[in-house]
Symmetry: C2
Amino acid sequence: MTAYDDLMAYTRDTQALGQVAGRLGWDQETVMPRGAAPQRSEEMAAMETVLHARRIDPRVAGWLAEIDDSTLPAVAAAQMRHIRRSYERTSKVPAALATRLAKLTSAAQGIWAEARSADDFKAFAPTLAEVIMLKREEGQALAAGGDVYDAMLADYEPGTTAADLDAMFGAMRPVLSDLRAAVRAAPAPAQLTGTFDEGAQMKLTRQLAKTFGYDMARGRVDKAVHPFSSGSGLDVRITTRTNPADPFNCFYSTIHEVGHATYEQNIDQAYLLTPLGGGVSMGVHESQSRIYENQIGRSRAFTGWLFGQMKDAFGDFGIQDEEAFYGTVNRVNAGYIRTEADELQYNLHVLMRFDLERALMTGDLQVSDLEAAWNDRFEADFGYAVDKPSNGVLQDVHWSVGLFGYFPTYSLGNVYAGCLNEAMRAALPNLDAELAKGDTSSATTWLRDNVQTHGGLYEPRDVITRAAGQTPTEAPLLAYLKEKFSGIYKL
Amino acid sequence: MTAYDDLMAYTRDTQALGQVAGRLGWDQETVMPRGAAPQRSEEMAAMETVLHARRIDPRVAGWLAEIDDSTLPAVAAAQMRHIRRSYERTSKVPAALATRLAKLTSAAQGIWAEARSADDFKAFAPTLAEVIMLKREEGQALAAGGDVYDAMLADYEPGTTAADLDAMFGAMRPVLSDLRAAVRAAPAPAQLTGTFDEGAQMKLTRQLAKTFGYDMARGRVDKAVHPFSSGSGLDVRITTRTNPADPFNCFYSTIHEVGHATYEQNIDQAYLLTPLGGGVSMGVHESQSRIYENQIGRSRAFTGWLFGQMKDAFGDFGIQDEEAFYGTVNRVNAGYIRTEADELQYNLHVLMRFDLERALMTGDLQVSDLEAAWNDRFEADFGYAVDKPSNGVLQDVHWSVGLFGYFPTYSLGNVYAGCLNEAMRAALPNLDAELAKGDTSSATTWLRDNVQTHGGLYEPRDVITRAAGQTPTEAPLLAYLKEKFSGIYKL
């Protein structure tokens, strides 16, 4: 056994244990008896302790010192890139700080939830200030003299800097804000009304999951409060939810999670339980969920097929024809909540969070001024005022649990999806005719072969560049959105 | 922090990780996608490696050397008794032997399953001989000069010796065999016929679980191929199965598993995630499942109530009245399979396995002669011949996975249940009137307070002695069976 073999065997066990911890999370959100919660916290904590001890095990440092990456074949070198990055990240943060952060964010999540229920930002502000202070300290340790926010971003999207995002998002904001205003001034498509049997929703949503290539032999679909995808490799499970008034929430949540889940399922199985065996970054992950959900799932062609499926499942539900249904699916509604936003407005939500969290991190914005800054920015971009903190600055859990540098990956994923969609459409000229028959196989196969199969082999931006045939920019996404919504709203 | 505190904190984490491994087992049998199996093996193996490393961690030896049990309060001393026993057990078996046994039994289970499918004992015999050789070696290491079989028994039933069982089982065998013959010669009660909706079975079985005090807030009931109970403390889940022709299988499997599960749920919560927080032995565990299933669940009083529930659930199902239904529930059928046996014949199955496995272990019986020995003994005790190995020597998985010393705990559990039933009936003179109304609360409360709450606080035999008010013997069980089956069969 070489040092590389030893390290990979060790890493494989760690990956397997990480999958176990992830499965506990799935269990907790789907099947766990409610009275088990206190015991489950201890079980999760014990797993975290084991995983942490493995990350800082001195044997790893020994193997890393012994291995000369330059002598390794490409795949092994890529494995080493991930292992070294993760080990260096852990080594840079003092253990005491990591412990303080873990304790604080665990408590902060509860305090945030209570403050949101009470619609009282002040009840959360001092805790948020503490989280920001410790995250800044962590960021400084990670940046080692470089940009603190870039160091945070590297946790989720290695290779992308705040300056990259500034340029991209700066170009997007006026275009999206203007398009939003024009759309909202135009006559809107019909809204969905009535109620839709939840059992029939689950039946159709399972069919949709299969339609998008989700392998049920290596996954399952359950109901949960929040839709999510969980696990890698041979066991990738998704959840969805049902609401009698809103079947689109069920269907498009499912398609979104299937994008995440098939990414994990379609990675080359040679990488199973290795660092290359998971999606390469949050941005690339989101590109898959978004292109499944939006560029494919909300296309004129696919919604035409879905209209027929819904008529079969629910009978006449008050929408006249495919064309009207396409408008209904893509209707742009006024709203405060990011997770409920349509594909036009969604990025405006993300862009404001990116700017606000960077300002919080540099100290240009104080937590005491955050609520006002949020409300001002929202009104500027959306054209109406936030009515209460739970619809504004308190709506997302992210900051309470220390996720800074995470929000922008949502919009980066949309930008990537725009690039991939352009390239995919060029490669598959008959795609719309297939989607109109409910056949997504050309699209999902193209994404599998050009993006998903690589797992962590290439850097995130390189994955997209190779697949799209050019360096990613916001232009394809903006062109797509302008064309789509100008068509629907007859601008 | 004292050494005791450190050891207990460490042990608590180990217990929590053990619960996680157990939950993976539950997941595998109930909800896991079938394609996940290869990955799951690696996940389980990684968990086992972690648990094993914790068991042999040198810090444990240090704490054990430092702690003087005689200075500890009773509960802490009982914790230490379990911790020391488990540590000594692990230390006595050479690591190389433990590894060889783990690998062999893992392979042997597959070989056994194939041999059973092919009804070919010879295909399994060489593997079984190897398992026996290694188990004997392990037993010698554990016994350190004492009786090898006693050392094996101590893994499942500390404090009970093969000599104890010899005396007990020796007294039981002629009585049970004679009673069996008399019953089989008498006219039999009506058999259940027809089909019973599986959804309605699951509905009634969930009601039965609650009726027997199973706390659904800390548990759940799912379907699986084999009924089992899994987990301790705040998360104890059970499974059951349905067969349209045999609703009793569903109902009595559920009641049996509820006996195991409520034992775990009703242990004093001060012992949560400690060595005292689980059932104290296999025999005591089985006493709870059996007294729930048989002495309570198959009593004249309770079956009278169940008859009404089944009529409500399924309409008229061809059994005339409560009295006839009592006979049908307790009908003694000819059969080869231990797990399908009624409470009269069940122990005859176990007694023969005990004698055979002891002879295998001493070398008095060779594996090459096992099939013939099994068939001879079966015909002697049951009065008819085994038709094929899958109905005989190949029916149980136990020996393939190295479970020697485990079988007798099934009958010991029945003996304990007999003792507990006698004491419980004396303490609760109105019990039958309550059971006739479907109210098991007096019985389950008595068992909770006298047996279950103690968890691992006392030695197994002491738990029963304290609850029953006398040293356990087979007499109450035999008296109960004679009275019950003489009544039903009018002997």
